[in-house]
């Protein structure tokens, strides 16, 4: 078990404001899993920060990468 939340998956979803959004699933240190939806700009930044060219490459990254993109 990791000491901090990690991304365990991500997928593209439709955002309420008509843009594509990124649904990121996190696993917390206590084992709980929860989804969080990032808007298009934040989602794209997260991919860039992680050097990911495909959403699947986000898996295993720290949740901190999301904050870096904010």
């Amino acid at each position: 078990m990791s000491a901090e939340a990690i991304i365990i998956g991500a997928q593209i979803v439709a955002g309420h404001d008509g843009s594509a959004e990124l649904l990121v699933n996190l696993r917390h240190p206590n084992g709980a899993e929860s989804p969080v939806v990032l808007d298009e700009a934040t989602g794209l930044k997260l991919m860039k920060t992680c050097g990911a060219a495909h959403v699947d490459e986000l898996t295993g990254q720290s949740w901190r990468r999301i904050v870096e993109g904010l």
Partner: protein, 552 residues
Amino acid sequence: MYDVIVRGGLVVDGSGAPGYLGDVAVQDGKIVAVGQITGDALRFVEAEGRIVAPGFIDPHTHFDVQLLWDGAAKPALEHGITCVVPGNCSLSLAPLRAADRQQVIGMFQQIEEMPPAAFTEAFEWTWEDFAGYRAAIEKSLSINVAPLVGHSVIRLWVMGPHAQERAADAGEISAMQDMLRECLDAGAVGLSTSFVDVDENGRPVPSRFAQFEELDALSAVLGEYGRMLQIVPEFYAIDITIARIDQLAELSLKHNIPTTFSPVFDSTATPDNVARTVARVEEQFSRGARVWPQMQTRPIDISFSLLRPSLFFARLPRWVRILRQPLEQRIAALRDPETVAKMVADTGPDGGERMMGRLVVRGGDGAPVELTGRTLSDIAKDRGEVTALALINLSLEHGLDVALLSANAGHEVTDRIGPMLAHPLVHIGASDGGAHLASFSTYGDTGYLFSEFVRKSGALSLEQAVAKLTAETADIWGLKDRGRLEAGKAADIVIFDAATIGRGEERPAFDMPGNGMRYVRAATGIDTVLVNGQVAYAGGQYSEARAGVVCV
């Protein structure tokens, strides 16, 4: 002699009771009789073979600006909507000091995407206080307006630049309470706040700097009037949304006020979210709290162009890398045959047909008008290209400014959404009418309720659907005179064809000030709309009637 008799229709009165054949008589703007009516009238409206229902109420709009030059909130009225609630999501146009206008315009532009001309040419700023704004719109209303006042602007009025910097002190909170009282006295039907929205610079809107004490104090004032608190919760994270539901429930119980929140939408990626939301709402209602989740009827469409990077391509690494480049390099890459061949190959052996064929060209941008509404698959065939290549070349020919629509990308599974909309505690709304002008059409959700969930799936009966949009909404919001076809109520009436009521295709229109573009949808199946006893829309035409009022 009555003013109007609506004759021979199926009366669906808003209560949810079965429709019955009958007439509706109108006098001095009010309904005076419903049933078999004899007697004469200045005007007869024939409704044989049609449904006669109370006018629809749209509880979540941003028509604040448009109402200043368009008292019908077009095209809302032609969809059968006779009352709109503007001022949602913490933003209204009053109270607002002249010196703060620019700041609030920035916030409105962020959500409404209205062209600057809308704020400089289309109307005169004659007001600062809420009563002044009311007077400014009241002059030429053909639709009724039940306005909310925005928490962000009240905060800005009291705290100036500090509104977007810090928590309020006791004196400031008390000044905000006084200002809210003044607005409620001047006709506001409640307060809106947001935990999510940002201004044009990406900064949180003022309401987001409020601590709980402030919201509690403002809710206490709402309690004096029994008025609504509307919020936008952190909908992107379900656990936080549930915490907000609990918080709203405490405010509702403590101050005896109704509360509502949106958006609430279904996604197959998070299939439990709505169920969890509604389960919590049920628990809070059983404690006596009123926390209404507001749900839209329409599916979510997403759109994108090659002009800006989009997550639409997030499963195509090469596309992501190329579209991430600065514009000049991006265009150069898209002109390089070798690169393009690889990009097309990435989309699969069918040249991207399965992935992109159903995308629709939206229009209103660089795309030629004749392509608007056509699928990429279709266009590719005409061009003799595979689909992905057609997307690239078509975009290149128009400076990449070709918007494509991926329709029904979320909140789209009718068999899931229908029962959610039918749930007795789910409030139908969240149209966002008047906002997102350049992103998608926010009109026609009421027609879509009937075409998709009454006629097609049968999730709601006709009577239930009408009740949701009328009496139930009026009850939730405390709009005492609206929502029912019953003697004594305001004569807001819509006459429609149950077999054809629906929404038209989305299309660009250039009817905003300064020829600004927005996406709209026309109505189908709506014959006649009366507002306060006067025919405001009939036979596809808006009338000169200006019978709309600010209603409470």
